[in-house]
Symmetry: C3
Subunit: 682 residues, 3 copies
Amino acid sequence: MNSKQTFQWNEMTMGTCYYPEHWDKSMWKSDLERMLEAGISTIRIAEFAWSKFEPLEGEFTFAFFDEFLELCRKTGMKVIMGTPTATPPAWLTSKYPEVLNRRIDGTVMEHGGRRHYNYNAPIYQELCARIVTKLGEHYGQHPAIVGWQIDNEINCEVNVFYSAADTAAFRKFLQDTYGTLEELNQAWGTTFWNQTYTDWEQVFVPRHTPSGNVNPHLELDYYRFVSESAIRFCRLQTDILRRYVRKGVYITTNGMFGNLDNHKMEKECLDVYTYDSYPSFAYGLDSPSDGEGLGDRQWSRNLNEVRSICPHFGIMEQQSGANGWNNRMEGPAPRPGQLKLWSMQSLAHGADYISYFRWRTCTMGTEIYWHGILDYDSRDNRKLAEVKEFRALQKKLNPICGADYEAAFAVVKDYDNEWDCTVDAWHRRVSYASEQGIFEASELYHTPYDVVYLQKDSELSDLAKYPVLIYPHPSLIREEQTALLKAYTEQGGTLILGCRSGYKDENGQCVQIPQPGLLAELTGTDVPEWTFTSLAEPPVFGSFGEEKMEAPIFNDLMKAGTDVKVLATYDATFYAGTPMLTEHAYGRGKVLHLGTSFSRSNTRQLLQYLGILEPYADMVELPENVELSVRSKDGKQWLFLLNYTSTAQTVTIKKPMTCMDCGKTVEGTFTLEPYGAAVLEC
Amino acid sequence: MNSKQTFQWNEMTMGTCYYPEHWDKSMWKSDLERMLEAGISTIRIAEFAWSKFEPLEGEFTFAFFDEFLELCRKTGMKVIMGTPTATPPAWLTSKYPEVLNRRIDGTVMEHGGRRHYNYNAPIYQELCARIVTKLGEHYGQHPAIVGWQIDNEINCEVNVFYSAADTAAFRKFLQDTYGTLEELNQAWGTTFWNQTYTDWEQVFVPRHTPSGNVNPHLELDYYRFVSESAIRFCRLQTDILRRYVRKGVYITTNGMFGNLDNHKMEKECLDVYTYDSYPSFAYGLDSPSDGEGLGDRQWSRNLNEVRSICPHFGIMEQQSGANGWNNRMEGPAPRPGQLKLWSMQSLAHGADYISYFRWRTCTMGTEIYWHGILDYDSRDNRKLAEVKEFRALQKKLNPICGADYEAAFAVVKDYDNEWDCTVDAWHRRVSYASEQGIFEASELYHTPYDVVYLQKDSELSDLAKYPVLIYPHPSLIREEQTALLKAYTEQGGTLILGCRSGYKDENGQCVQIPQPGLLAELTGTDVPEWTFTSLAEPPVFGSFGEEKMEAPIFNDLMKAGTDVKVLATYDATFYAGTPMLTEHAYGRGKVLHLGTSFSRSNTRQLLQYLGILEPYADMVELPENVELSVRSKDGKQWLFLLNYTSTAQTVTIKKPMTCMDCGKTVEGTFTLEPYGAAVLEC
Amino acid sequence: MNSKQTFQWNEMTMGTCYYPEHWDKSMWKSDLERMLEAGISTIRIAEFAWSKFEPLEGEFTFAFFDEFLELCRKTGMKVIMGTPTATPPAWLTSKYPEVLNRRIDGTVMEHGGRRHYNYNAPIYQELCARIVTKLGEHYGQHPAIVGWQIDNEINCEVNVFYSAADTAAFRKFLQDTYGTLEELNQAWGTTFWNQTYTDWEQVFVPRHTPSGNVNPHLELDYYRFVSESAIRFCRLQTDILRRYVRKGVYITTNGMFGNLDNHKMEKECLDVYTYDSYPSFAYGLDSPSDGEGLGDRQWSRNLNEVRSICPHFGIMEQQSGANGWNNRMEGPAPRPGQLKLWSMQSLAHGADYISYFRWRTCTMGTEIYWHGILDYDSRDNRKLAEVKEFRALQKKLNPICGADYEAAFAVVKDYDNEWDCTVDAWHRRVSYASEQGIFEASELYHTPYDVVYLQKDSELSDLAKYPVLIYPHPSLIREEQTALLKAYTEQGGTLILGCRSGYKDENGQCVQIPQPGLLAELTGTDVPEWTFTSLAEPPVFGSFGEEKMEAPIFNDLMKAGTDVKVLATYDATFYAGTPMLTEHAYGRGKVLHLGTSFSRSNTRQLLQYLGILEPYADMVELPENVELSVRSKDGKQWLFLLNYTSTAQTVTIKKPMTCMDCGKTVEGTFTLEPYGAAVLEC
């Protein structure tokens, strides 16, 4: 078992999210029985039910959930219990308005939605600790409970915090980090625009300045602080629960949201990580942009990220119908096959637990159009049938439980640069495009990848298992990470760096040495000049041997050292003929420096040049619109072929394999139904 | 006289809006004389003149308007007197800031514009009652005054209210509605997202939550509350005025705005209803969207609505020039003929009183570009000439005064569903498109319709006069309304329902029975599944006999009962071949269930199928871009033919008729001038 | 020397902006030496360095800048000293929050950016006076200091002010202007919408009304007040400095921003005016609109404006690299030649001092992408080389220092109408389009113009030097200005007026006399009607002799007096055949009245008709995309030919001239390199 998780499912499991408080008690029994009959063996409950436990301040009652859990125990339903802290009760926010979060303009986030609190109000921490303690005491040993979920979707919807409690905590965070204001002034470059602080009381979380700009170094620290606040809030709860829960019961949380070091949270607080997967956002009528790139297939990019946090993860909320709120988000119903396809997408990327959101569509509140498996009328329907169909297949895939995902290369990331992208529009424009370009190349040309986050405790072994690393744009680079990259290359790895590398220090200040700064020894290059590609000029290309190579968005103008091979040169504008892509031998490995951002097309060329494109080409031949994922365990490999289109797709199986669904040996031409998925063992 | 109004004009009347306080007194006499000479016999005054009556708190003076009204009396000008409550004075809002309305984010609507007050501040109600009492006492018996206007354009510009006074009144409203918090929690489904209230002090009008979403059931009640507040504010004034005004003097208000049950206000407070008609918004440079659909002809849709409130209504403000504010709204001047055309549009739809806004363009303030009949320089001009031209025709149309509008069918609406559309984006998308589609079909294919609002006191007779009712999307349906619809169908009516029918209860919560819920007995259908049409797929059509039928936006997937005839089936996507349009015999009538929204094209097909398309086809043959309206009285019919285009249009008169303008008999080919209107008696 | 400036450079000078506080002291000496070596003889410093002088309230220290200035003195570097008031320190805004500006919605502009203060808080005025006094006392006689810059970019970023201090000062301003509330109510037309004020406490700067509209006459006065506040703030500082500075040291400020009577500020406070020129905004990735019209060449329009404030101006900040903030504004690097081209653009329009922003790109804070000459690594680079190249040419152009710009005509402007455009969308739409149209015609057809602002103290001599004046749309006109225009025409000048002339008085209220109001005597026309051109109709043209003439956006429908010649008539819509362009002899001159707005095309026709198009056509023949500017002195003329394109441009020199760069005589075909500039003496 990977050190990233201390819990792992030992068989493929199916679940759903259930809200006993939303339904008449008379429906409970039938609901549980129908779930079990459909193959649903676990339910997640109670994450928005604070008032059911503590209807008035300090008055606790467990009767409601006692009754429900007893029914679960009796019917054999396993339960994941949610801590209900994502929706503080009306009595709480009314009495203690300081727990409410605020917007940067100072306006309050009022009671009436969810996630309206901040993590730093002492009274909220206290009241959360109390309710979690009460739940731990009362339910910690409950036989039906197999897991706990902390809060719900931490940092979802709102991941910035501007309340007075946040400013107080931010000051504390900065005092711990910098000790003195002198150090802070230095780190933040407050000399610029005369921002120098002379008293801690002058320091605030970001505020609304005349043009909306905030000191970028303050802002970078602010995102670090937000992440730490969220993790501390999570740990507050997990520390309590661990005192009470039965051995073998796991603690998790769900979703994957911004301004949060999910890796650290998983490692420090959780046993296992679960994600909420809603690929149908790609089809929304009012937000087609959510489906940018590859539409619902785009969610595979998120799953690659989830796997980097926790290799054998769960899906706590898997799409089970159209999504929608009453006031926005209008989506069509999933087409026949899509629910199953999206479940298989999760499974192909490493999910051994898949739990649908939700058993039945809610009949009240904001989410009446966030469709569950059943609809308002509770009748058997097409979605339930499809869930059963998925379960039938999932059972056959039990041998794959715990199998690893096979990656041809890894994309390197880190939170410093991720948050610097939030802070820095120049950094963001290249980084976001490159990540998408690499993902699309990987998907369309069937070259799966992992994501590796460089963390404080990252080790060479985390990197060395990959022959090739792409670290697209590490603008901000530290000594430790540089050392790790050197060690990786020295032992024989191939590292690819893009433009804009190495020009910032850990505070996000620009270094006063030639670019790519600390990375120059690795690349052997010098970047004395750089530019966005101009909208006033045609797109820039380079020459890569006989091929044209895209050089979009940004161009580093590079000089190659004497021991550096120039693989491609720019074709256009005033730097025509100068190096665009270089290769530098380093130790037993090598470093490629691409002076621009990564696109679908130039990533494909790089993968091909390095000989890692389409690693399964000798086993299957696939059209671009079929995704390939491979999981392996104990010497066995399973190929997942996923068809995201509404038309049948023909693939060629080049070696005999066994279809996990039909059990037959397949070879040669093979047809994937519209929205169809196949799993082939070889 | 219809019970909806207790006053009705007994001859076609022309008026204008005049502001004696805007002009030097030396201009009054000449202005009045020129009006009378042009055929203007009534003026509306004083609706923004609070400070002229009460320049300082409690100090009342009537000298200014006494002088002006005496001049009116002398010259024979009739006057509609406005209560000046739409613009509280600076002294008032400065001393009592609690009367100011607020935005949902808490920011104050400051003095300096208009309609900056809320209806619920007790001190404002008190001060309004006092000024209205003073005006009633002083002017109630004035011989020049023939009518009173309450406030100005109630709910215009601002129709949401978030002040502390509103929250206080909302709590009272809810206590009256629900009695206990338990009932309220139930009705609002506050279990969802743990919104449960335990103290009335926790309840507020909608507030700014993290994602801007508000509990939809709370919000639905909020719009009901806003409407009640506005009506109560209106009634406060009408109750006072009725104590003072001369017999025969009518009380009205103007405009037609949202979040307001205009039908109830008319019935409970007013003698007659007047509308403000500005079709030239369709030509605005900065807001072309206002003219969506049929451009200026689109205003006929509003007039259909007005008629449902009050069949023989007035136009208090009829466009008399380009509209514009200094800070936004830039519009071209009306083309020659358009002022008259738009006046005829009002008249054709039931207006027996038409009053132009305004006599002369204001030379100061926000509305210097809201052009009146005269311009800044007061000279005779093209617009005055056209107004006189209209008056010449209007006089000839005197026999039509009090004549009813003839409708081939009715569109059924109700405020529950109207406000649910505001709350609910899913409901809104289909409803708004359908209402527009039906209107366009009616206009282009010359099949006039009425609008019928189902109210608490609606009776079968309100419906039975129409052979066909279209109730496009009654998502929210109550028992009483269902009973009425059954009675209508039983007695032989044809009811057409669209998709999304019957799935909500009166709180806007989804019902847990098969759709269309209470309406299922009427339709004979079952809707187990539904979907928005997907942007990722081509537009959906169905087969309706030999014809293709549009199925836009949303599709109910229906099962037809055994006694149900399937008239059309879907052609595409995963529900190809299933019912799209059904017909169910019910009593002596029948119910058509259209599983999608109404478009221009499919509405035309439905009307044709039911044999009510183009009911005047044996009398006139018209191109699409000529509107047909018909009014009738005492066995006479008058056909209004309106040409909204800049080119002459040729129509064919199939039976001899009399041209009301020229007095000649016309038959055969007949030419409508650009922007021309003809009225033919037959 | 022109009365508009009391300081003028006596030789072409090059400078840069330097921030000693941003760099390690060890870098200072080398930086200064490299500057001097490159030809940079002046630096601007300290404008954001308040905390370096007064780190805590009342604690002053000069050690840091003493050390730096001593180094300047030693190396021979001249210094422009900035007063540091554009960025009040954190201790100041923290202790005295009343100095912070607010948005119209009341939210505070917090510390952390720049320009977050208001001009009217007494404590800020006091603290600014104190720091400026201290600086004056300490550095007033410093031998290295040759000039002072007040604040930085007054009214940049934020040019509206809504703090309590502003309201207090606004009341004072109004009391001084109007004396009584009666007068104010009259001037503001507060009768409209019952806005009448009965107590000064009811009067505020613009506030957030229900629809965001503000009384336009109040708003017009508000912009006048903002301008007065800014000038008073500037004068507060210049009055102090003049007490301390050495004779010959000039006082200036930089930039040119809105809501500010720059002419008055220059005249009353400054010795010379400097502008900040960033033409590369035209290439921004996120704001292409900034480069509307002619792209970077568009900046010539700004330079024409600057020249009207101060004929022989300086550029305090000349673009020296790509511009960008960390959170927005992404721009490509200037192409080789562009830095020099943009410097020549400034010089061609009258700049005798050109100072680059900035010596080295900042490595911290918001402006890390506002690229300086040097980049983070301090090495020699392409930009430094280009600056040296410019300096080589600039030295050769020394004879041109102090030479005047030659204009074929002038565009007349005034602040009343400029601010009325801000207030009034109708006025704005025509005015903004016309100014751009005239500029484009001037640029593309090589007919240079000046801008003349009508000020209170304007004299006939300011106008009489131009044979032709275009006063595009003087909607608001006063008696004094009318008299001046009459005098201009009487003495033989040709005045061109556009549509919408003369219909407002000095308060922005519409006059009740026929349009063009006071100007009617000049034009001989009467405008009884007017209209925006309708989006529903094709573009309007007129017939101007044999030619078609554009009549875009707005059309006055004119009647020509008997002594008026109709030069063009409208071709279309309901006023086809009526006058569109008239000519009226007046005194020894004449007045043309164009009933529409000015476009590139109709301006060209007007200039041609008046015989002033392409005045240098006998000397050079130029393609449209080469700009021509001409400066002259002591009987010599210098032609500046500027190529803004990336391709070489061929021009024809028709008379022998001397190339100032190569010293050779040129005639006939002459090639301008991509982004090339040539200066020819003749």
